[in-house]
């Protein structure tokens, strides 16, 4: 069997071998629902779409995804299994990719379990289901980007708490890269061109673009490159940190 598939299956099964998976899924579903209905004013606004639901995803992911990502490599290093895994006939890239993919599939399962809200909105009104599909895709891609960042920072430390906090901070900065909070800081000393480039890195902007229902190739490339770059960095960090 392909080593990526083997490691992917083991990893995904390991989420469900402990209560972590169930706790994560339950909390994710409760928060997603509560935020949508109470703060998103899902009923009150009287419109048949899922904007309030997806609008909260970046903030939900900001805390929940790093919690999944923090154990990816930190745990392997702590328990020493990284030495076992990387001396089996599997390349570093396959190992990094397989573990990332398993985590992503897990978040995907949690996301898929929000389907009742999709049914609800179809029952209540006549939403544009194309936009909803696009939003789900955008949400999944954003989770993937967060996970890839978390994978890299998890490889950098064997302390999961440190990995968690660093991931939250970096994901937050990348989310806010298009907002004055971050841009204002850079505007004070960087030329406008560079500031625009930083704004272009904003996860939030790209997520919003997709969740409006417009699947632009540039947004897909943006997420693809973000994930690839952070996974590449993961492999480099693992290589560098193997010795200690």
């Amino acid at each position: 069997m392909n080593p990526v598939r083997t490691v992917f299956r083991r990893e995904l099964a390991s989420y469900f071998a402990t209560p972590v998976a169930y706790v994560f899924i339950v909390i994710f579903l409760i928060l997603a629902g509560a935020l949508t209905f109470y703060y998103g004013e899902f009923y009150e606004r009287g419109r048949a779409d899922l904007q309030p639901f997806f609008g909260f995803h970046p903030w939900l992911y900001l805390f929940l995804v790093p919690a999944i990502a923090m154990r990816l490599w930190a745990e392997e290093r702590k328990s020493g299994t990284i030495e076992l895994l990387l001396t089996l006939p599997i390349t570093m890239w396959q190992a990094v990719f397989a573990k990332f993919l398993a985590a992503w599939a897990f978040v995907g399962i949690a996301l898929a379990l929000t389907f009742p809200i999709w049914i609800t909105v179809n029952y209540l009104g006549d939403p544009d289901n194309g936009v909803i599909v696009a939003s789900y895709l955008g949400s999944l891609l954003m989770a993937g980007a967060f996970l890839a960042i978390g994978s890299c920072l998890s490889a950098a430390t064997r302390n999961q708490v440190v990995a968690f906090i660093l991931t939250v901070v970096i994901c937050f900065l990348l989310l806010m890269a298009g907002f004055p909070l971050v841009l204002g800081f850079f505007q004070s000393f960087l030329p406008q061109g560079v500031v625009d480039a930083i704004a272009g890195l904003s996860l939030f902007t790209h997520f919003q673009a997709i969740s409006k229902g417009v699947i632009d190739l540039r947004d897909l490339i943006y997420f693809g490159l973000t994930i690839a770059a952070w996974l590449y960095a993961t492999a480099i960090v693992i290589d560098l940190k193997k010795a200690d």
Binding site: G80, T81, T87, D239, K242
Partner: protein, 312 residues
């Protein structure tokens, strides 16, 4: 064949492994001896392809671990230090995972898994998460994983660490049973293990290879090599009798059990003269034996000058 040439690993300024070269042929069991922090594990990690050497190279069954890592890893079974495994998995699921990664399939996969389960007596714990197992069982799961694909070469980092005497005996028997057709490298700091399983021993300290020979040759370096030890009913009388033997260099008396050890002058045999003198003088003895040499003493005398507490 496992072969290293000038294998070196540096961590910044610190040299953990310093130009180690050796060659192990099929049928040999090589024992890696050395104090903690000597560079044993680092050397093994480089051969297993986990750490990249700073300089030099290592080959497993003809495959260079850096340029042909996958082939080298396929030919090798490796038990890392501490026998790590995925704690939430059961031994059966874990072994199946390793079998899949090792590319075993169908009848052979089933047969190999059953074989290692039998050899390491894991039947009783197959359905229990590895986290809940005793240290001895965890170690055996690690060993099972290393020999699962029946590799031509094996590297076992402290395979008997944490096992009770019965389990140690079983693991040594397992290594002996496999030694005929495999290349095996084990690291240990239990010196009796060298006698029990190794056909060759290398001593490493401070990252350097200081000795490479058979356990018997190493013992012959001991000043106790050819010494005669005895326990006499009357220690004083025995001492007086021994004074008549010319080739004795010095005499040591153990303060606890009054065992007398006579150390010969270099290259002299004293067993026959001593036994004759004791007989002629009518000294009653309860034990008399010829010593082959003490490995722990050789170990100390070789490694002590390099004793630096460094990273493992």
């Amino acid at each position: 064949m496992i072969e290293t040439s000038e294998l070196t690993r540096r961590y910044g300024q610190f040299t953990a492994v310093d130009g180690i070269s050796f060659k192990v042929e099929p049928g040999q069991v090589l024992g890696f001896l050395g104090p903690n922090g000597a560079g044993k594990s680092t050397t093994m990690k480089m051969i297993a392809g986990f750490l990249a050497p700073t300089a030099g190279s290592a080959k497993v069954c003809g495959y260079d671990v850096e340029s042909q890592p996958i082939q080298a890893k396929r030919s090798l079974g490796y038990l890392p230090e501490g026998a790590p495994s995925y704690g939430e998995m059961t031994p059966r699921a874990f072994l199946e995972f390793i079998a899949d990664l090792r590319g075993l399939s169908g009848e052979r996969r089933k047969q190999r898994i059953d074989d290692v389960i039998g050899r390491l007596q894991l039947e009783a714990v197959l359905a229990q998460p590895i986290d809940t197992l005793s240290k001895g069982f965890k170690r055996r799961v690690g060993l099972a994983q290393a020999i699962l694909h029946d590799p031509p070469a094996l590297i076992l980092d402290e395979p008997t660490d944490g096992l009770d005497p019965n389990q140690k005996h079983e693991v040594r028997a397992l290594i002996n049973a496999m030694s005929a057709e495999k290349i095996i490298v084990i690291s240990t700091h239990i010196l009796e293990e060298v006698h029990a399983v190794c056909t060759r021993a290398v001593i490493i300290a401070g990252g350097r290879l200081l000795a490479d020979s058979t356990p018997a040759e190493l013992e012959a370096r001991s000043r106790y090599h050819g010494a005669v030890s005895l326990i006499a009913v009357n220690t004083g009388a025995a001492r007086e009798a021994l004074a008549r033997v010319a080739d004795i260099d010095s005499i040591e008396i153990d303060p606890q059990d009054h065992r007398i050890t006579a150390i010969p002058k270099k290259g002299r045999a004293i067993f026959v003269p001593i036994s004759e003198v004791l007989k002629n003088q009518g000294v009653e003895i309860s034990q008399l034996q010829l010593e082959a040499g003490r490995l722990d003493e050789v170990f100390r005398s070789i490694t002590q000058p390099h004793a630096t507490e460094a990273r493992a």
